[in-house]
């Protein structure tokens, strides 16, 4: 094999692997990416039921209802719109009324949200950056201490 052929092998192999990887990435980005929405986004844009999304906002004051077993329902609010969320499982340590939360799951046909995982962020001054940004964008006044950071707990 000549030097040129050998280099051809190398370059050909490299291009093949990169092309395969690029295809995998494209397909995966199309299929497995989850969009983030606030309750107001959903009211305005209308997210189809059954599409996997992340719903973010604050846990509505006085909205948490513990049902049978591990069943639980609560409201996610951005102070303008509320969405009722049902979840079956153990909530993260930092889940509190009035605190930032992200629920991942899908809308049902009756406008409620079924979550299969709930992420909470903690501490009096904290809320998830996405939530804080969306709320600020909607003119909701946040506490002076609101800044992104600290720790998240995620449960499935």
């Amino acid at each position: 094999m000549t030097r040129k052929q050998k280099r051809g092998w190398l370059i050909g192999g490299g291009v093949a692997v990169l092309a395969a990887a690029a295809m995998l990435v494209m397909v995966a980005l199309r299929d497995s990416v989850v969009f983030f929405h606030t309750p107001s986004d959903i009211a305005e844009k209308g997210v189809p039921a059954g599409q996997r999304i992340r719903l973010g906002g604050l846990v509505g004051q006085g909205s948490v209802v513990r049902g049978e077993g591990t069943h639980i329902t609560f409201n996610v609010t951005d102070t303008l719109k509320d969405i009722r969320v049902t979840y079956d499982g153990v909530l993260p340590d930092l889940f509190r009324e009035g605190q930032g939360v992200i629920a991942e799951g899908m809308l049902t046909s009756n406008g409620e949200f079924t979550a299969d995982s709930v992420l909470a962020k903690h501490d009096a001054t904290y809320m998830p950056p996405e939530v804080a940004k969306s709320l600020e964008a909607r003119g909701v006044k946040l506490g002076s201490g609101a800044h992104p950071g600290e720790e998240t707990t995620k449960q499935e």
Binding site: G13, V17, V27, A28, V34, G69, V90, E130, G149, E156
Partner: protein
Amino acid sequence: MIVEFGHFALILALLVATVQMVVPAAGARLRDSRMIAVGEPAAVSQLLLLLVAFLALMHAYVTSDFSVANVAANSHSTKPLIYKISGVWGNHEGSMLLWVLILALFGAAVALFGDNLPATLKGNVLAVQASISVAFLLFLLLTSNPFERLPVPPSDGQGLNPILQDPALAFHPPFLYVGYVGFSIAFSFAIAALIEGRIDAAWARWVRPWTLAAWMFLTIGIAMGSWWAYYELGWGGWWFWDPVENASFMPWLAGTALLHSALVMEKREALKVWTILLAILTFSLSLMGTFIVRSGVLTSVHSFAVDPARGVFILGILVLFAGGGLLMFALRAKELRIGGVFSPISREGSLVLNNLLLVTATVTVLVGTLYPLVLEGLTGDKISVGPPFFNSTFVPLMIPLFLALPFGPLLAWKRGDWLAASQRMLAAAVVALVALVASYALTERGPWLAPFAIALGVYVMAGALTDWAWRVKLGSAGSEEVWRRARNLPRSAYGTLLSHFGVGLMVIGITATSAYREEHIVVMKPGDHVAVGRYDVTFKGAAPGRGPNYREDIAQFDVARDGAIVSRLAPSKRLYDAPPQPTTESGIHATWRGDLYIVIGDEQKDGGYTVRAYFNPLVRFIWFGALIMFIGGGLSLTDRRLRVGAPIKRRASPVAPVPAE
């Protein structure tokens, strides 16, 4: 007083680093050996000054000096001593101080142990290393001064985030940083080589041990972080493809590639240009990791102490060094001679495949990590890229990598015999086939692909042993001869064997845990049973308890197997005093077959508790595999050839390097 002393030492370190950055590099250019010689004492005194600064901060933590803003914000007088010490790096400022300390440590190590390096190369390496120090010391002093005093000291501190108050996490950051920062040496050597326009096998022999050391510590650091997340975050996962995890994983992948390409360069003088590029990219990924973790641009399960304003500074550092390094590469790489020729089927060829797949995998992780950021910048859409993305991009790239892995060591340099290697791999393939059939026979559920993945892990392990078996002539020579050969094999051969074996173990552990995990979420009252795996778990009740700086509800579980109690687990829910934050402590009954993992949730109105119980089969293999990889790396590092043979004295012409062709 001690605090001001520490602050002063930090400023002095900046001055010394500036000198170290300028003088030896100028000396190397002007061929002035006295100027080059400044690098050594400068590197050592920079290390000593930073050590003083670090110890001063530690002193403030241990004595709970709350007049220091950093201590007040992150410590508390009732915190146990070990967490007062680990609290030093459990926050932004302190961890960045640790970062520069380790950077200086590596620089000083080159100064002290680099006697037989060519003088100009050494001068340039120390100068580049110092330039990184200067950037990060400026960052510390200008934006993140750990020694800032408070005008009115509070009576007590705010405490350390409770989930960080944990033994594994106390040592996770130092290990991780030794890994991250260790790649700076490879970077400095690469830039120095570009400055000189000259690079040879001796260069690779120099860079490899440093890269190997960094890689080892990064391996064990990541494994520790994963282990910590497993038992502390309370949901039994060990890897979440979270931005902060990816931040440490990308340099690891690139570093692994670098380790292998440096091998080609050392042995065959091929892949020079590529190795230099990889060295620059690996450290750039380390810097990007620091940026991701420290800036908080990406939401993450474990990002602590973040501040967007500081992110801009680190982004600047990242752009400066990654961009500068790449620019220099673009300008000078042409001048490096292209090395040896090899056929696609050869040891070199297999290492090129290794590099190709590892680097492509790094890129997929990079895309998945940064895509949300880019998309939000472009369209304003907020998305999250989760495990499904990585499972369908990263994992497929690992399959050919692991299939090809055992062939590498079996192929000869320059031109290998594919057929002969395949024949040697026959035994390993048979073992893997047996493992495949056995996995199908032993498991009742789970995805149909899982047994194939387990067989792949077995194949990698058997393949690693195959290479060893052929080298010691196991089966074809007498036992005495085998023993003699086994003893005479270089330690680096055992290093390769162990590291590859560890990879196989890890593949098995990952597959078994992901595919055959059992999960139960139930509400239990005292006396209730639940069957998890082969265990019968009985809830005995919960009682309040009190620790040094927290209150807790401790639950008691009896774990029985075949009617006999094998363990009593006491998972708990803690509420820390400062900051007042709850944590979940898991109860784990660990065996080689798998872990029984129990956490409790909230108390229900009727006195029952939500209980989550998992059986995670073979999950220990993951961290044990990483530990074996670490040990393998250590064995290679102690190989005589790396220690003594590296830079041969006569090669080290003091000045006047051969100009590039």
